[in-house]
Symmetry: C2
Subunit: 199 residues, 2 copies
Amino acid sequence: MTETPRDIEHLIDLMARLPGLGPRSARRAVLLLLKKRGSVMEPLARAMAQVAQSARECTICGNIGAGEICAICADPARETGEICVVEDVADLWAMERGGAFKGRYHVLGGTLSPLDAVGPDELRIPELLTRVQQEGQREVILALNATVDGQTTAHYIAEALEPSGVEVSSLARGVPVGGELDYLDDGTIGAALRARRKL
Amino acid sequence: MTETPRDIEHLIDLMARLPGLGPRSARRAVLLLLKKRGSVMEPLARAMAQVAQSARECTICGNIGAGEICAICADPARETGEICVVEDVADLWAMERGGAFKGRYHVLGGTLSPLDAVGPDELRIPELLTRVQQEGQREVILALNATVDGQTTAHYIAEALEPSGVEVSSLARGVPVGGELDYLDDGTIGAALRARRKL
Ligand SMILES: [Zn+2]
Ligand SMILES: [Zn+2]
């Protein structure tokens, strides 16, 4: 280990922090980068610096975009009166790949989790309530993972929205128990959306 | 997919070219980067640009280092009269982790492979012959993978070195058939080195 140049060791350590890469595969990844310096390593370093500099959280929905307001919130065609609530941006991307949902999103940034001291104020739940009130939405579709925390969060939000009179539904048929949206195929997500049930 | 910002898509595409990361895990990795922009993404982009700019192939042994000559070749304590021949830098790192070898290396950059039109001149075999002649080495240890191509290459090098009179040995006990050095534990590599046999 001692004879690996220090900056390469440092790069391996950082790569090993990515999901899916352990220390061994991080080393292999770095070796590939070293072999493909011009075609992969330099473009990757540039792309990463570029995204690190430009990516921002949409101030309306919490999606990741290139400006203050994301492309979905900026698109008037997506003003359908429906908001789809998701846990994180990965789930938003999964919904978009499905292509079945035409409205806008609200990214919570996680789920309620008393054990981890994550309450409504740690998520973007107050912002959701404000949005529904101010924007006059017709329906809120809860597209949360079918996990205990996801479902607890869904029930909490449904109750919190009750006074507003907005219709609240949730993805239903097609999401397997314990399943995570990001691992479902696109057709399943579309089916679950179409068969959503009122809460 | 359409609503993912284009520079993020581009970053995901580049990440997906790393070994161990498919398109799905590349997306998850990029999401983690976006969440840990200051603590992971920016340092990683910087480290990658830094290594892309500074890393060089050692002109003597083919190892990756920070200058013209790598730290091992520059270390007079490693002038032991022994050269260890490895296929690539991953194998050199694996040998170094084992810690049993005290001499210097020669990185071939692959194995002979007639089907892929890789002959001796595509590897650093001529450079190895010149080194042995000029540096007056006592022993060349072939630490090639126990694959068909690795063993073909070992036999080719042993024959090419015969006129020079240098002793040629190869890692023996402990390297399983079909096994690759980079996947062996450190102790196994040390044992195989100590039990090396003359060719
Ligand atoms: Zn938005
Ligand atoms: Zn060197």
